[in-house]
């Protein structure tokens, strides 16, 4: 599902964020991406989303070589990928429902179809009763779950998460991780960046470890 082939990313400042990264994530696999902050976890995820382009090597999503994608095609790539952010990137002037409906609205689903899918996603993250609230009225854990619902509402084949448990206490973190495992059981490929080694070592999934921009374990 994701393949990195000798990928390097050098910033314009001359700093190497990633160098010589090669790994292969199979369809339906779930893996963690770990390392100290600044090790390049976020950069790696951004390469998959095409928020950044590699300066060396190539990244494949599905069978598609991302370097061959024109910038006008990037939106269609992103619709295939669900992303959960550490700061959840929710819109605070919209209800929970509208936040989750955004990807569907963008993809052009009819309102009825969208509403059904939004409720299904809300049900999965256990927030069915809070659809009319705005994100401010929710706890941090709930906000993160809204972010997850938005990431999966489109039924993406690939789910990326950047420190999804960064601000959460251990029990909530575990709950969120269970949610990801649940999606993975239903066939979604999942890649989670997290520095919470304690938590992820308990999950017994594959762990990709980055150190100073190089992949030191898990390839």
């Amino acid at each position: 599902m994701i393949r990195f082939d000798r990928v390097g990313k050098r910033f314009v400042t001359g700093q190497d964020a990633l160098s010589d990264i090669s790994f292969d994530l199979k369809h339906g696999e779930m893996a963690f991406l770990t390392g100290h902050s600044g090790a390049g976890k976020s950069t790696l995820l951004k390469l998959i989303m095409l928020m950044e382009r590699p300066t060396q090597g190539s990244v494949f999503v599905g069978d598609q070589d991302l370097s061959s994608l024109k910038s006008s095609e990037i939106p269609y790539l992103r619709r295939k990928i669900g992303v959960v952010f550490q700061n959840h990137q929710l819109l605070f002037d919209r209800t929970v429902f509208d936040n989750i409906a955004l990807p569907l609205e963008i993809s052009g689903y009819s309102p009825e179809d969208a509403a059904r899918r939004v409720r299904a996603a809300l049900d999965k993250v256990g927030l069915l009763t809070k659809e009319k609230m705005t994100p401010v009225m929710l706890s941090t854990g709930e906000q993160q779950r809204v972010g997850i619902a938005r990431a999966i509402v489109n039924k993406p084949e690939l789910l990326l998460a950047d420190e999804p448990t960064g601000n959460l206490d251990p029990s909530l973190s575990e709950e969120i991780m269970r949610l990801f495992m649940e999606f993975n059981r239903h066939g979604t490929t999942v890649l989670i960046a997290s520095h919470d080694l304690n938590l992820i070592s308990r999950m017994r999934n594959r762990i990709l470890t980055l150190k100073g921009g190089r992949l030191v374990a898990g390839a």
Binding site: D63, Q64, S72, Y76, K80, S107, D113, R117, K155, H186
Partner: protein, 351 residues
């Protein structure tokens, strides 16, 4: 156009063959979600495409309109600036139209005044005027005798005292003729012919002031054009700047939308509609401003026309003018937002 490009979307990221089976597996435990078999889902979407696209546009337009009134004060101020910038050339255009009408009415009757030599006697002059009446290139002939001329001069100027000092009537006999052919080429030729007659001292084509008026109208036309172009730029800049601020305010929303796969067209659309709304509403307000000013001008103009014994009536923009004004202002709003969006949306990228 998220739906229209759905086909391309599928092409953009090709799924491995395993994905079909995986997708059905994925949908199975979610009873609310419809079956996810690629072909079936796609067929439904295809049939809905056009409807969804239209609905999306109507929704976006409606949302953009409501969003305008979320900050009523700034919207009102922007609209006021737009309306004034649009009303000025609009009003000038209406004024110009009135002027053209005026010059068209008056320019219809060019006259040639024949000033006879002072030694030509009255009976000789009368004979000449009868001869002229027989000519087939003249529509009418009017003889103004020297005495008659003096009388009219007295009445119209009130220079009675000055005239008393003159021993003799200084005015010549005048014959005013109305040519049949009123074209600009024929008139000077006719004037030449009449001037060549032995009794005629000078033949003056009374059209110079009409020509001057039409030259004045031409200058005004150009003026309105230049002025209008400048103000059109002002409208572009005002809308562009307003849209730039809106983009700045909605930065987060744009970033999130782009992260979940919004195309540039999708992100652009609400701003374009906002610009068009600004243009349309500004145009409508400008129209009202123009009509009200014309109403205010009407009584004094009527009085002026009365004094000139003219039937002239002030006319507004008319249907054509009104539609043109509103169409042009809407297009200017759209163009202004297009400029702003093209320049500033590129800067808003998720990082």
């Amino acid at each position: 156009m998220p739906n229209r490009t759905d086909e391309r979307r599928r092409g953009a990221v090709r799924q491995p063959s395993a994905s079909a089976t995986r997708q059905t597996k994925q949908a199975a435990p979610a009873p609310q979600a419809p079956p996810q078999k690629g072909a079936e889902r796609h067929k439904i979407r295809f049939a809905d495409q056009r409807r969804n696209w239209t609905r999306n546009h109507v929704n976006v337009a409606a949302k953009a309109y409501h969003r305008l009134w979320a900050s009523p004060l700034s919207t009102f101020m922007t609209l006021a600036v737009l309306a004034i910038a649009l009303a000025l050339p609009g009003a000038l255009l209406a004024g110009l139209k009135n002027l053209q009408e005026l010059s068209a009415n008056w320019g219809a009757e060019p006259r040639i005044s024949l000033y006879l030599h002072t030694e030509v006697q009255n009976d000789k002059a009368e004979q000449l005027s009868r001869e002229l009446l027989l000519r087939n290139d003249l529509a009418a002939v009017e003889l103004i005798s020297r005495d008659q001329g003096l009388l009219e001069f007295r009445q119209s100027t009130g220079l009675e005292d000055v005239l008393q000092y003159l021993s003799d009537n200084p005015l010549p006999t005048v014959i005013v003729v109305l040519p049949l052919d009123k074209s600009a080429t024929a008139l000077p030729i006719l004037r030449e012919k009449l001037a060549a007659m032995p009794e005629v001292d000078e033949a003056v084509l009374d059209m110079e002031w009409v020509q001057r008026l039409s030259a004045f109208v031409a200058v005004s036309e150009r003026g309105v054009l230049v002025f209008g172009t400048l103000l059109a730029f002002a409208v572009l800049m005002v809308v562009g700047n307003t849209i730039r601020l809106l983009i700045e305010n909605r930065r987060d929303e744009i970033v999130v939308a782009k992260l979940v796969g919004a195309t540039n067209a999708w992100v652009r659309r609400p701003f374009l509609y906002t610009g068009a709304w600004f243009g349309l509403l500004g145009g409508v307000i400008a129209w009202v401003l123009i009509q009200v000013s014309l109403l205010l001008l009407e009584p004094p103009v009527e009085r002026l026309a009365e004094l000139y014994e003219s039937q002239f009536e002030i006319s507004g923009l008319g249907w054509q003018g009104s539609i043109l004004l509103i169409l042009v202002s809407t297009l200017l709003g759209l163009a202004g937002s297009w400029l702003a969006v093209g320049r500033h949306l590129r800067e808003v990228e998720p990082r």
